[in-house]
């Protein structure tokens, strides 16, 4: 059996205990939440932390709370299955519930957490392999090597951000709460990212993601998640997109947003969604604008041969997925898969 490397396991029972452990062990320590991303990566020899700080025994990190202003406060250790099934999330943030419900398969959604999905490592066909395989390859830019096999001569890793929940959280204006011993910061989720696939998150050493804050959505909020993948379960996205359409009292688009993932190292916010604003779904004008948006989105998305799946085809899929996901959001029929 493929084995985990050896490590010292710490299981603090409080956030403070976790922060203290991280502060004490510095770079030697890694955090494990649900373990569904980190443990396979460790079995692949991609990470060999001397100390693993498990968050499994910190009750305060789990749970969904509605705040007085209607915002959702979701503990970072809340399992994806709980997020997907929660009535409040489904009502207020349908794209998030749908995205959480599309991660991997049922068992991994019981284990995997929302915080873990936000902090998922980037993925690449030249990286997510065993040590033997990568050794035979001669390694890659992201781990142990100097050459990128996706982009000939590439100097920057282009492994794909593959977090299903991130597009939804981004369109919802989610904020992330990071805590460090003696300090905390709250940042909009879009400020987390940088374009380096080897390290695509601006996260300080010793920091712990403790909660995800999802602001309240207005009455006319609509959202959906679209996920392109080969199988109806288990697979990571070959393309993931969330759309948000808020309608005003007259049924016109008041706000529109679209974020795509599984292209490059960071999520891509599609420009030009404001073209839908002021239009009424179902009208010819809306339909025309939607088709233009879909084509524009296709042009803006440049998938690479980083993850399995023909990159040119994944790009072509942006257009139909944009249209279908927008319409599914309006009809309340998401998620869109295929």
């Amino acid at each position: 059996m493929l084995r985990l490397p050896q490590f010292e396991l710490l299981e603090p029972s409080s956030v403070y205990g976790a922060l203290a452990a991280l502060a004490e062990h510095g770079e030697a320590a890694m955090v494990v939440a649900g373990g569904t991303d980190l443990l396979p990566n460790m079995k692949h020899g991609l990470f060999e932390p001397g100390v693993l700080v498990s968050l499994a025994r910190i009750p305060e990190l789990t749970g969904i709370h509605v705040q007085p202003d209607g915002a959702l406060h979701i503990g970072a250790m809340t399992p994806l299955a709980v997020v997907a099934a929660d009535e409040r999330v489904r009502h207020q943030a349908p794209s998030l519930a749908q995205a959480a419900g599309q991660v991997a398969g049922p068992q991994l959604r019981n284990q995997g957490t929302l915080g873990g999905n936000v902090l998922l490592d980037t993925r690449c066909q030249w990286y997510n392999q065993t040590h033997f395989w990568r050794q035979a390859l001669g390694y890659c830019l992201k781990k142990d090597g100097t050459v990128c096999h996706v982009v000939a001569g590439g100097k920057r890793c282009v492994a794909a951000a593959s977090n299903d929940t991130v597009p939804a959280l981004t369109t919802l204006g989610a904020e992330l709460r990071f805590e460090r011993l003696g300090a905390e910061r709250v940042i909009p989720i879009e400020e987390l990212w940088q374009s380096d696939g080897a390290n695509n998150k601006r996260k300080e050493p010793g920091e712990l993601l403790t909660a995800i804050h999802v602001p309240a959505t207005p009455a006319g909020h609509h959202g959906a998640y679209g996920k392109l993948r080969d199988r109806g379960s288990i697979d990571f996205p070959q393309l993931g997109m969330a759309v948000r359409i808020d309608l005003d009292a007259e049924g016109r688009v008041a706000h529109a947003d679209q974020v795509v993932i599984a292209l490059v190292a960071r999520p891509t916010r599609i420009k030009g969604t404001e073209a839908l604003v002021g239009l009424t779904p179902g009208t010819e004008a809306f339909q025309t604008a939607l088709e233009e948006l879909a084509e524009s989105a296709r042009r803006q998305c440049r998938p690479m041969d980083n993850i399995p799946g023909d990159a040119a085809w994944r790009r072509e899929m942006v257009r139909p997925f944009t249209r279908r996901t927008v319409l599914a959001a309006l009809d309340g029929t998401g998620p869109v898969t295929g």
Binding site: L4, L9, H44, A104, P106, N110, Q111, S233, I234
Partner: protein
Amino acid sequence: MQVLQFELNGDPIEVAAPPHWTLLEVLRYRMAMTGTKQGCDKGDCGACTVLLDGQPVLACLTLASNARGRQVTTIEGLLPAHRAAGGSGADPVQEAFDACGALQCGFCQPGMMLSTRALLNRNPEPSRAEIQEALSGNLCRCTGYTQIVQAVETAVAQACGKPAPVAAWQRDLEEN
């Protein structure tokens, strides 16, 4: 080496294991509870599915220490639990899988039956779509899932006192 205490199929258990051992390794190689199978090493196949506090999880991606203080149910636990509840034979899910031909090589089936048991515990009358969704993290290579779904539907029908589903081949043989 850490000493873990947890409840395994209703029994209090104490077992020593290194921290980098998964629950799968502890069950199979420390406890000799080999009904839980290993198929892919790393969370891709579902063969190692066990119930942790009633929820299906993959034992190959669960650190053994995560089980501490919790209830673990493996395939070996279904029949005794059914008997303890006054039943005869095996768990109705096990009986239906056997009776419907769902057990070919049998290797994915412990995980499949535990996913089924968890589904029926929370939803005693699932639709076919709900069954397919609940079992979508368990790969089977023998059956094409057809007799598995039939087995689950049979277990559901029996529990509800309804007639068991009839497959095309059964209908066809009866007609001829």
